[in-house]
């Protein structure tokens, strides 16, 4: 029988597991290396050079991974723009994934820029170059994080202080905060749609300025549209995949009706994306490059298979009814989608024969450590706050337990 998710409920169980400590160790190493990087320069810890001047931190942690962080955007569009309130129960998880992914990415940018103290100038609009796509990305991401995502995440946090064991003044403050959130909510979710639409597409436009330095299989005026749609697809895949793993890990029932539906929407979006991608290749007459079988064409074909197969499979009910099958397809789709977002920035970026880039071990640790930081944030939050969805029976059971002396 299918479980019907209706309420968000915190996960019971200890926070400080061996997994937590392993992640904390990685994050700690990343922070130490980041401090060392500040003194010794970027060259001391990374494989970056004058040809490949953007590496893992910007291209992977930000450009690639914030696509997974578009979960809040993807579900938000469904709930608020298309008015499908039945998915509202997923909003907390989706918004949490987004805020963690974006925060982790922003920390990555902080370590990546060579003169981070100059970020204060962003507050002075007279220093802005309004033609810069990077400036737009920077401002829209910060705005989304501070205005959109904070508002979407705030209720789950302050709600906790309304419980009995907190002092009266705290309750009062929490109440005021919630009222304020409710008043600005429609404006905030409006921003939470506009701002990601802008910067997720502009992450693609960024590489357009590199012109002929990006291989023609990827370099196209369609980059902003393809990047945005892929963010939507990967945001969907992330929310479904992460909910599946979470329910498996903490022994909670899956609402396959909702997840299957999301899987179907993901598949439809993937079909649209593929049509645009393939249409663009035909339209620009790049078909011969696809079958050249050099490393670029191999990457293109790999990407196509990884995105195509799950896209087609998830259109069929048989593959969406079985959680294991759907999960596998979503992982495949995610790998393909992330590959698409990463390839134009690094693998298909052609700065000249004399340059070579492969991330160094400290660079991999820093990059991985920032991801670990996001996962730690996730573990902490779902175990302390009501985030993950459960059926009503679980909710009542938890209430019964907590009200018992």
């Amino acid at each position: 029988m299918n479980a019907h998710w209706e309420r968000a409920l915190r996960v019971d169980g200890p926070l400080f597991t061996k997994w937590f400590w392993a992640l904390a160790a990685l994050a700690g190493a990343a922070i130490l290396l980041s401090i060392y990087r500040t003194y010794a320069g970027l060259g001391a810890v990374t494989g970056l050079n004058d040809g490949y001047s953007w590496g893992l931190f910007k291209n992977f942690n930000v450009t690639t991974l914030t696509a997974l962080g578009s979960a809040g955007y993807a579900v938000g569009v469904l709930v608020w723009i298309f008015n499908r309130q039945k998915y509202h129960v997923l909003m907390r998880t989706a918004a949490l994934i987004s805020i963690l992914s974006y925060t982790s990415g922003m920390i990555g940018i902080g370590v990546d820029v060579g003169r981070p103290w100059n970020i204060v100038w962003v507050l002075d609009p007279s220093t802005w170059n309004r033609y810069s796509i990077l400036l737009e990305v920077l401002i829209c991401m910060t705005g989304y994080l501070l205005l959109g995502l904070q508002t979407e995440n705030l209720p789950a946090f302050v709600e906790r202080f309304l419980e009995g064991r907190y002092p009266e003044t705290w309750k009062h403050k929490a109440d005021t905060a919630l009222k304020f959130v409710r008043r600005i909510y429609p404006f905030a979710i409006g921003l939470a749609f506009i701002l990601p639409s802008m910067h997720q597409s502009s992450l693609g436009s960024l590489m357009m300025l590199a012109g002929p330095r990006v291989h023609p299989l990827w370099q196209t005026p369609m980059l902003p549209v393809l990047y945005l749609l892929m963010a939507y697809i990967l945001g969907m895949a992330a929310i479904v995949g992460i909910l599946m793993i979470s329910c498996l890990a903490w022994n909670r029932p899956l609402d396959m009706k909702i997840l299957g539906r999301l899987g179907y929407i993901t598949a439809l979006a993937t079909m649209v994306w593929l049509a645009l991608r393939v249409g663009d290749i035909f339209g620009r007459g790049m078909l011969p490059l696809v079958f050249k079988f050099d490393s670029y064409s191999v990457f293109f074909l790999l990407e196509m298979v990884l995105i195509n197969v799950p896209g087609v499979m998830l259109l069929r009910t048989k593959w969406r009814d079985d959680p294991a099958k759907m999960y596998r397809m979503l992982v495949m789709l995610t790998v393909g989608g992330l590959l698409y977002r990463y390839v134009p920035t690094t693998i298909a970026f052609i700065p000249g024969d004399q340059y070579f880039y492969f991330p160094t071990i400290p660079e991999l640790i820093i990059s991985g450590g920032f991801i670990a930081l996001a996962i730690i944030g996730y573990l902490y939050t779902v175990k302390r706050y009501n985030i993950l969805p459960v059926p009503l029976t679980y909710w009542y059971a938890a209430q019964g337990k907590s009200t018992a002396p």
Binding site: D50, N129, L134, L206, M208, L209, G211, P212
Partner: protein
């Protein structure tokens, strides 16, 4: 050579004066810069003997530590442009025919520079009078988008510094104030690289082509139209793209192409604003419905809404 150096210096001096002021030119306004005001260089592969006097003159004039890495500390021998090298002479040899050519690589000072369009904090600027592209570290974030954007792979970054700078040819702007020209041009014993206004140098180049039929590759001036035109011009006897610095580029500048795509999407920032206004009016209604339903559910089941 019919080149009036004094006029060129005059143009450069006004440029220096403007640079001292607060005026800034943004990527797109630069197109209005008149040809006779733009300073330029003209490099001729048929005259260059590869003596590299310009390479050492450049590092001396710009106070750079000579890069001796490739020679084990004996000679100034940079392999590529780097954070110690703003100017380099490269050699091209065709193994089969023995055809050889030198090529000078430094910032091309594009008429519509991609680096200036890229820079979020306007740390890279195009001088509104003489068109020289310069870097000012006051607001530079060290984001290195200029390195990604530059089609000629020119801006270099100090990878091992605590406070890294962007290093690139600035047309010896500090010498302009003293009434001197770029060090590389002044030191060249063969006048293989000369400076002047862009208008003058295009005339010189056209005259050389007319006087020497068949000498230059396709009778072409590289930089006249490439990427919307550059202020460093090249006459080559070998196909430019073989030389390693002069990449094949279209006539339209890349920032212009990107601008047109962004404009289609943003319509001068109008579309996000209209979309936001339209959206919030719908969302306000949705939100009211949502609040009412939540209240209804709370009355029925006693469950407070989880926003």
């Amino acid at each position: 050579m019919g080149l009036n150096r004094r006029a060129a210096l005059g143009a450069m001096a006004t440029g220096a004066a403007a640079m001292a002021g607060v005026q800034t030119a943004k990527a797109n306004d630069a197109k209005i810069l008149p040809q006779n005001k733009m300073v330029a260089m003209l490099y001729d592969t048929t005259l260059c003997i590869g003596c590299k006097a310009c390479v050492s003159a450049c590092s001396e004039a710009n106070g750079l530590t000579p890069d001796t890495g490739e020679s084990g500390g004996i000679y100034q021998m940079p392999k590529y442009l780097n954070d110690k090298t703003k100017n380099i002479i490269k050699l091209y040899v065709d193994e089969k025919t023995g055809l050889r050519s030198y090529v000078k690589a430094q910032c091309m000072h594009c008429i519509d520079p991609a680096c200036v369009a890229a820079c979020p904090m306007a740390a890279l600027q195009k001088n509104p009078v003489n068109g020289v592209v310069t870097w000012d570290g006051t607001t530079c974030l060290g984001c290195r988008y200029c390195q990604i954007a530059c089609p000629f792979n020119i801006p270099k970054f100090e990878w091992t510094e605590f406070n890294p700078k962007i290093v690139k040819c600035q047309f010896c702007d500090h010498r302009m104030a003293e009434g001197k020209g770029p060090a590389c041009c002044e030191v060249c014993p063969r006048e293989a690289v000369i400076y002047g206004t862009r208008e003058e140098l295009l005339k010189v180049a056209r005259k050389r082509i007319a006087d020497n039929p068949g000498k230059y590759f396709e009778d072409r001036i590289y930089g006249e139209e490439e990427a919307g035109g550059t202020q460093v011009l090249y006459l080559t006897h070998v196909e430019p793209q073989l030389l390693g610095h002069l990449v094949p580029l279209g006539k339209r500048s890349i920032p212009e192409e990107v601008e047109s795509v962004q404009n289609t999407l943003y319509m001068g920032f109008l579309s996000p604003i209209i979309a936001y206004a339209a959206l919030t009016s719908v969302l306000k209604k949705r939100w009211q419905e949502h609040e009412q339903e939540a209240k209804h559910i709370e009355e029925q089941t006693g469950l407070k809404e989880q926003l």
